[in-house]
């Protein structure tokens, strides 16, 4: 079928189809229009509270084809859940009409920002096209959305494009239902669109092609540029130039934390890192996140880009302006890191960019299309061909997550590090874009703004606020201050982690055997939890088992110094501090003496069951990392070294009642390290030991309670080696495994779980 013509055939049928799922704000009505025309159908399409309703009329074959293809050919951002056809009397007529949205209780969902599409890229590269090399080319299928919306309904006047009136050519495209730019709010062209500018202290501002040429020359000369992207400014420099990358690192007060890079194209990405099929799809897909890839030996990327890290965070150009940065001979891989001061949120306004980034950038490549909402780049890892979100932001937010159980209108404020928050109502939850670490004043302000904006976009009016139980979390304090009489409900940290992975899978069965492994979370007994086995449902949990408590010397100081954690773990395990151990050597002199006193007298030590700290200890004992300059550095480096050889064996944990004792693991590590076993083998045995531990704990629960679904959450499960080994072992033992694929396992996904626990309704 298809390609038919409207004729006066006698057997015309008409069908009304209700399409549910995420089908609004994703270009669905123009898609339906185009599909109906292609199939020679008449009728109409509109948005209702229940979903998109299309009425199509024509030959029976064409109507059936429509019903199939409305699902299979849906726009890239749409998620079609159900298509329910219902026959209605034929009305005749030849027209197909797009109805205006019916105002009312229905929700217009706002699309995330989408990377430049192939059609636009083709026009962009075509010298005869009127948008040849236009830095703001976009269409219904691509371009900015979320970051430029100032209000609803989503229409050009309610975007930051409001002050760019369409020229006659653009206006024609905008109002033609058959055009790819029909009702595409951000469209523009060189005649009517925004303009590029380049600001360089001591020079006149340059515009358009001059701005580009200057920017390009500066990059070649080893300068650092602030470049305005979709959701904020980036700091940009040549990734192959050791000197300039080192300078950027110093200016940003960045420690050893890796920088992301942008490669000119897929070929270039392949030259610096290994890219498998799933990774290629992600790199080149509609979202264009940063993908964590294995760095190739000898890649032409400065060591200072990601010191000591086996991975490289790589993305491809996702705006036309990015394309233009690569279209002349010059750097083929650019460092692209958030334009912000250490600890602050990403900078979005030209004004803030000039002032806040004045000590960081040498010049500013910007334009006059304002960014209304900050949105950082997303970060994703592929594990066993499946997406594992590390940061869910641009391209994903504010895409809704459909919930297993309806929720009452609620706001969950998330955690304090890598904060995201979540609003929910009925079937949907909206997890915010990355906000940041809540100990910074500018981040708290950004939280205020983002929270207000997301409430506006979604129309959710929260009746209850949900927080972590940590008494010092600023997110919790924010909720208490902003409650205005509404109840504030606390949810235990690891319970929220597990509920987040359950919710994203729309899981609503028996309690799960939940492994919540992370660095730090406030426990119900006031201790620092983090190696938890919880038998969890949305309505509550039992703490089935946990890592045995050990002293965390000096709280945050213990976190920053894995060698101290190693020695604390040895002490708890009753293992002597052999002076040949790398951890002992790293913690010598006065530090050693202080630590001895501190542990003996329990000064400023918190009891912890943290799995993250056990990773720190093993990493240090193996001689991999003694001081953590950024979050989870010791664990990341330990994972990176893990030998992939099979049959290396595993360290064994002892399980006594509800305590999981790592003493035999530590004894094994010490034995191996002292006898010269390589860190890669130690790492492999440790990871395998954890996987085997989890299987035996899960089997014990299955035998006793009959549960068979395992949920994995918490920051430790960003670890690809562990996640992969664990999933394999648990699946082989017959368990159903729920692991993260839509929200991060870290605290960046916490808010979804908080919401699912505290606002679920039966």
């Amino acid at each position: 079928p298809g390609g038919g013509r409207i004729t006066n055939e006698p057997e015309r049928v008409r069908s009304r189809l209700l399409v549910t799922g995420v089908v609004q704000g994703v270009g669905f009505r123009p898609f339906v229009y185009a599909l109906a025309r292609e199939l020679g159908l008449s009728g109409q399409v509109g948005n209702t509270a229940a979903g998109v309703v299309a009425e199509v009329e024509g030959s029976a074959a064409a109507v059936t084809a429509f019903g199939d293809r409305v699902r299979t050919d849906a726009p890239p951002l749409a998620v079609v859940r159900t298509v329910t056809p219902q026959p209605v009397p034929a009305l005749g007529g030849t027209e197909f009409v797009i109805l205006d949205s019916i105002a009312g209780p229905g929700r217009t969902l706002v699309s995330p920002d989408v990377a430049t599409c192939a059609d636009c890229l083709a026009e962009f590269a075509d010298p005869s096209d009127r948008r040849y090399r236009h830095p703001f080319i976009s269409c219904t299928n691509c371009g900015p959305r979320f970051t430029i919306i100032t209000g609803l309904p989503y229409d050009r006047p309610a975007t930051t494009m409001a002050h760019f009136p369409l020229c006659p050519d653009c206006a024609r495209e905008y109002s033609d239902p058959a055009d790819r730019r029909f009702h595409a709010q951000p469209i523009a062209c060189p005649a009517c669109g925004p303009r590029l500018n380049l600001v360089q202290p001591g020079h006149e501002t340059a515009y358009d092609e001059d701005a580009l040429a200057t920017a390009h020359r500066l990059l070649v000369d080893g300068a650092i540029l602030a470049v305005k992207g979709l959701g904020g400014f980036h700091l940009v420099c040549d990734a192959a130039d050791e000197a300039v990358v080192t300078t950027l690192r110093k200016r940003k007060d960045r420690g050893d934390k890796p920088f992301a890079v942008m490669a000119a194209d897929l070929d270039m990405a392949r030259r610096i890192a290994e890219v498998d099929a799933a990774e290629e799809e992600l790199l080149t897909g509609i979202r264009h996140p940063i993908v964590l890839l294995r760095r190739r030996a000898g890649a032409a990327v400065a060591e200072a880009v990601a010191p000591g890290n086996p991975d490289l965070g790589v993305m491809l150009p996702y705006t036309p302006l990015h394309q233009l940065l690569f279209d002349q001979p010059g750097p083929c891989v650019l460092v692209m890191t958030s334009g912000n001061l250490s600890g602050e949120p990403i900078v979005t306004s030209d004004h803030a960019a000039r002032s806040r980034l004045s000590g960081l950038a040498d010049a500013w490549l910007g334009h006059d299309r304002p960014i209304h909402v900050p949105c950082d780049d997303s970060v994703v890892r592929i594990v066993d061909e499946t997406e594992l979100p590390v940061r869910r932001s641009r391209g994903y937010a504010p895409f809704p997550i459909d919930l297993p159980r309806p929720v009452r209108p609620a706001l969950a404020v998330g955690g304090d590090l890598k904060n995201t928050f979540c609003v929910g109502d009925g079937q949907y939850a909206w997890l915010s874009a990355h906000v940041g670490d809540m100990d910074d004043l500018a981040t708290l302000r950004a939280f205020d703004g983002a929270e207000l904006h997301l409430e506006q976009l979604t129309g959710v009016r929260p009746e209850v606020l949900v927080t972590d139980k940590h008494p010092s979390y600023r997110s919790r304090q924010w909720a208490v201050l902003n409650a205005a009489g509404r109840p504030v409900v606390g949810v235990q940290h690891h319970h929220a982690h597990l509920a987040s992975v359950m919710a994203e899978h729309r899981y609503d069965g028996d309690r799960v055997i939940g492994f919540a492994f992370d660095g730090t979370g406030y426990g119900d007994d006031g201790a620092v939890w983090g190696g938890e086995v919880l038998l969890a449902g949305y309505d509550g949990f039992d703490r089935h088992a946990h890592l045995k408590y050990v002293q965390l010397p000096g709280g945050d100081a213990g976190v920053r110094n894995p060698c101290r954690m190693a020695l604390s773990h040895l002490k708890a395990a009753g293992i002597g501090w052999d002076p040949r151990l790398p951890s002992y050597l790293a913690c010598a002199g006065p530090e050693h003496d202080l630590l001895v006193t501190q542990l003996d007298r329990d000064i400023a030590c918190a009891p912890t069951s943290s799995m993250g700290r056990l990773f720190d200890a093993v990493s240090s004992l193996a001689g991999v990392c003694h001081r953590a300059g950024y979050e989870a550095q010791a664990a990341i480096e330990l994972e990176g070294l893990a030998s992939v050889e099979a049959g290396l064996g595993a360290y064994e944990f002892a399980i006594e009642g509800e305590e999981i004792d790592p003493a035999p693991v530590l004894a094994g590590v010490v034995r191996d390290v002292l006898s010269g076993v390589s860190p890669g083998v130690v790492s492999a045995r440790f990871h395998q030991g954890l996987a085997e531990l989890m299987v035996s704990v899960a089997e014990r629960v299955r035998d006793a309670e009959g549960l068979s679904t395992v949920a994995l959450s918490g920051g430790v499960f960003v670890n690809r080696v562990l996640l992969s080994a664990t999933t394999r072992a648990l699946s082989a033992a017959g368990f159903t495994v729920l692991r993260h694929r839509r929200v991060p396992p870290t605290d960046a996904g916490l808010a979804l779980g908080q919401l699912a626990v505290a606002a679920s309704q039966r």
Binding site: L441, L444, P471, A557, V559, T597, Q598, R601, E631, D747
Partner: protein, 329 residues
């Protein structure tokens, strides 16, 4: 122990249990001492109890603290302490020589501060019902005419000064109590501040706020002021006078010097135009030699204290809640 830590739990205890029970206008101010008129005199009146362990530490003893604590509380209203009361609660079995040393320290501290111990009391409790020696002191003093010092007077534009190096007392106590050394010996800064305040009042009697940042440290005191006055306070991290030994100890123990107790330091908030003169006046006094301007009051973020870091970011400094717990994940 959280309720005695001087942080948010203490504040809640006072606000929710004590203030309503004693409701009266003099108590309402939540300052270290009460200021009221009795006959023709404007008096400041204050009381404090001392339960420190150990009883003796480098730079002082519970006896010094008992005098200086109350003298300083009065001084923070601008008052010169005149008379003190002193109550001892002794645990059965405590050595007489210990009590004698403490009494001598008390007398010596009173003489140094120029205050008279006018009345006293002693009780003995059963062994196991006390920590050796508890002391309560109360004091009265006259507030000079024209002086109006209270937290509510902090206003946007005012500058924030500190009289010297911070965090010293808390670290000194910890190093003797726990037998832990951080390189050079840290000696408590325990001292009477009435002389320094008199020197400052000689520069201008329009000091807006004075506070001795004892338990809970500079962070807790400034948070109380910011909330009482409805102003924001912005500190400059690089301007904070933190001695190296304190910085080392704090970085080792995962503490922030802003939260560590002081016993001989004051915070002052004065109009910007008086800032230089007051600073000079403080530096001319032996207890203010290391005085520094550490920040300012701002109209933005009322009720909130923040620190500007060397890299220009702005970190929030809250009131600690009970014990310090790690927030790093």
């Amino acid at each position: 122990m959280g309720h005695g830590g001087g942080g948010q739990m203490s504040a809640e205890l006072i606000e929710h249990l004590f203030v309503p029970a004693f409701a009266n206008p003099v108590l309402g101010g939540l300052t270290d001492s009460a200021v009221f008129t009795l006959g023709d005199a404007r008096l400041a009146f204050s009381t404090d109890s001392f339960v420190v362990q150990p009883l003796f530490f480098p730079g002082g003893s519970i006896g010094h603290l008992a005098v200086n604590g109350t003298v300083n509380d009065l001084a923070m209203s601008g008052a010169q302490a005149a008379y003190l009361s002193c109550g001892f609660i002794l645990e059965e079995g405590v050595e007489l020589s210990v009590v004698g040393r403490i009494a001598a320290d008390l007398g010596g501290a009173a003489e140094l501060a120029g205050v008279t111990i006018a009345t006293g009391d002693t009780k003995v409790v059963d062994a196991g019902h006390g920590d050796g020696v508890y002391i309560n002191t109360a004091g009265v003093g006259l507030v000079p005419a024209g002086v109006d010092i209270r937290p509510q007077r902090a206003a946007p534009g005012d500058v924030v000064l500190v009289s010297g190096q911070i965090g010293v007392h808390g670290i000194a106590i910890m190093s003797v109590r726990e037998g832990i050394s951080f390189g050079t010996e840290v000696v408590s800064d325990c001292a009477p501040l009435n002389g320094l305040v008199a020197a400052m009042l000689a520069v201008t009697n329009d000091l807006h706020v004075l506070r001795d940042p004892t338990r809970g440290g500079v962070a807790t005191s400034l948070n109380e002021i910011a909330k009482a006055a409805g102003v924001g306070i912005e500190l400059t991290e690089s301007a904070l006078p933190v001695p190296e030994a304190v910085a080392n100890a704090c970085s080792f123990l995962g503490l922030d010097p802003l939260y560590v107790a002081n016993e001989g330091k004051l915070l002052a908030i004065v109009a910007r135009e008086d800032g230089d003169a007051v600073l000079a006046g403080m530096r001319a006094h032996p207890l203010g030699a290391d005085a520094a301007v550490i920040g300012e009051c701002v109209a933005a973020h009322p009720g909130m204290v923040v620190t500007k870091t060397a890299f220009g970011a702005t970190r929030v400094v809250d009131t600690p809640i009970g014990e310090q717990l790690p927030r790093i994940c």
